[in-house]
Symmetry: C2
Subunit: 333 residues, 2 copies
């Protein structure tokens, strides 16, 4: 945005500096560069990452930045979605040194146009409208890699998803059901548990109550084959305890901070595997999209705001009241 | 040993009760039962497990017990070794409910005869004498499963083995070298580091010095692809820090107690995998034995005691002075 010689200008949301409110402004369009495509955004969606960048709580900050990792967009006559994990590299096991997430350091999707590497662009699922298609990218591929690529679920296994209501957790619930798993959830809000059960979860407990792990153990006396967790923190040791022999635990986030008091005997005697997982490769994204299309999965959209109202969308995310993705309408339907 | 109607009697070491000294006694031979073979023991070897059982620090204690999980023995004219993990079950991922380790609850190898399931008996490697062959079982299969079956090493990768000097750690070093890995070690004793380097380790640090992880980082600035650890405890968080992107950490023991202060971001952003591992299936044991035969691996034998001197062998293990396996000669050479 520093350059002044661009001809076309576009509407966008920028985060001007740390802790400043998101502003709806007119900025120059980025020119098309080699290997990149310029997409016309119909809708985009928020992730926690955008909020953390706004608050200055993210690695590699730079301002001003157009945030946003997810979009449903047009490329010529094609309706497309994108894998927001850019330049993953050749190793399926881990992203390489050039890896980055769309929306920092490169300008993101909260704009009329966005510049994206061609290899990250995929056809939008036909059964999803623009708002829904905008909601699947980052959270979906993160959940898919954590649950499917890392934990390799087998139909009939029992899955625990912590903190349901967040984007990744909801996709983990949906993907788990699509894979034929018995899915249980935790949340801090009774209404989120009820919604998850309405979506097909077999049960759930409030992690805000004392002894929640005992309640969960009563519901599922012999524990879980797979656990997908984005919290870590002090409760992680309880997840290790809740794992069945041969159990796998995927960790995709750490909002709860450091993990402590983990009993090593529970890890080695039960042959538990703990898999760190973040974002997803092109293989993960293609696998995720194939599952979305095959099972006609629809993301849970919490709410839709117009792009110029992005500040209200950020506030909605900060409230933690949302259940599902918060979407911004740019020009789509 | 309660039954009085057996005809044949044999010499054996028994642990009569908690914290009592091992006694060299004459006891009845166990009769051959279905699916089991009676082996004539030439040599057997100590594991930490035997010491913990002596001290009453093990699950499922019963006394009196003949301890011992490892042996080189005769079955008719055949010289054999054994996988001490009994009744593993059908699932390669984890041992089943009937799993047990030879030497508790079933009487073990510190005797002239031992009763072992036929499926756990394997030909002894020809390049090993009786004392060496007795030393490979429990520690070898544990190291093999943890390092090879769980972490799937690729030649050229860099391995860290903690606490070298113990049986499993030494096998992890040897197996790592046999797999073409660059192996680094930690120990609390300079002489153990020197011995490990003489065996082929590329380097090592004393974990008893402050900031040992910084020294290790200086030696191997970008960390380790694989870490094999039997300690856990407070230092485990440093191992997570030392893991390269895509790194794998196998945990086969927990003498250091609970793991704390692990930074979840280091797990998920680096896509680290933490694998609990204990003992090994028949597949693991067969794989281990094939590697021992192919690469002509020889276990490190710290010392050999006569069976009636088992108490001195237990004291040697308790001193933590040993480097390699402590073997008991029964009738072999």
């Amino acid at each position: 945005m520093e350059a002044l010689f661009y001809f076309y200008r576009m509407k966008a949301i920028i985060l001007p500096e740390k802790n400043a409110r998101p502003s709806y402004v007119e900025v120059p369009e980025a020119p098309k560069s080699e290997g990149m495509e310029v997409l016309t955004v119909m809708a985009c969606a928020l992730n926690h990452r955008d909020l953390w960048i706004m608050k200055g709580q993210y690695a590699g900050l730079k301002y001003p930045i157009i945030p946003g990792s997810d979009a449903c967009a047009a490329l010529g006559s094609k309706r497309v979605v994108l894998n927001p994990g850019l330049f993953w590299g050749a190793d399926e096991c881990v992203q390489g040194k050039h890896f980055q997430i769309l929306g920092l350091p490169l300008d993101g999707t909260f704009a009329e146009k966005v510049n994206v590497p061609a290899e990250n662009i995929y056809p939008a699922p036909k059964h999803l409208d623009d708002m829904e298609a905008a909601a699947i990218g980052l959270a979906g591929v993160t959940a898919y890699r954590a649950l499917v690529s890392r934990c390799k679920p087998v139909p009939g296994e029992r899955l625990l998803v912590t903190g349901v209501g967040g984007g990744v957790a909801l996709f983990a619930l949906q993907i788990g059901l699509a894979c034929g798993l018995e899915v249980h959830v935790t949340s801090s809000r009774p209404e989120k548990l009820a919604k998850a059960i309405a979506m097909g979860a077999a049960g759930g407990v409030l992690y805000s109550t004392p002894e929640w792990e005992t309640k969960l153990k009563e519901q599922c006396c012999d524990g879980f084959d797979i656990i997908v967790d984005g919290y870590a923190g002090a409760s992680f040791a309880k997840l290790v305890q809740l794992a069945r022999p041969g159990g796998r635990i995927a960790v995709y986030g750490g909002t709860g901070g450091k993990m402590s008091d983990i009993v090593p005997q529970q890890i080695f005697w039960k042959q538990v595997s703990i898999f760190g997982s973040t974002m997803g490769s092109q293989t993960d994204f293609a696998g995720f999209l194939a599952l979305v299309n095959e099972k006609k999965l629809k993301p849970v959209v919490d709410s839709v705001y117009d792009l110029h109202n992005a500040e209200a969308a950020f506030q909605r995310m900060e409230s933690q009241d949302q259940f599902g993705k918060i979407v911004l309408r740019v020009s789509g339907k």
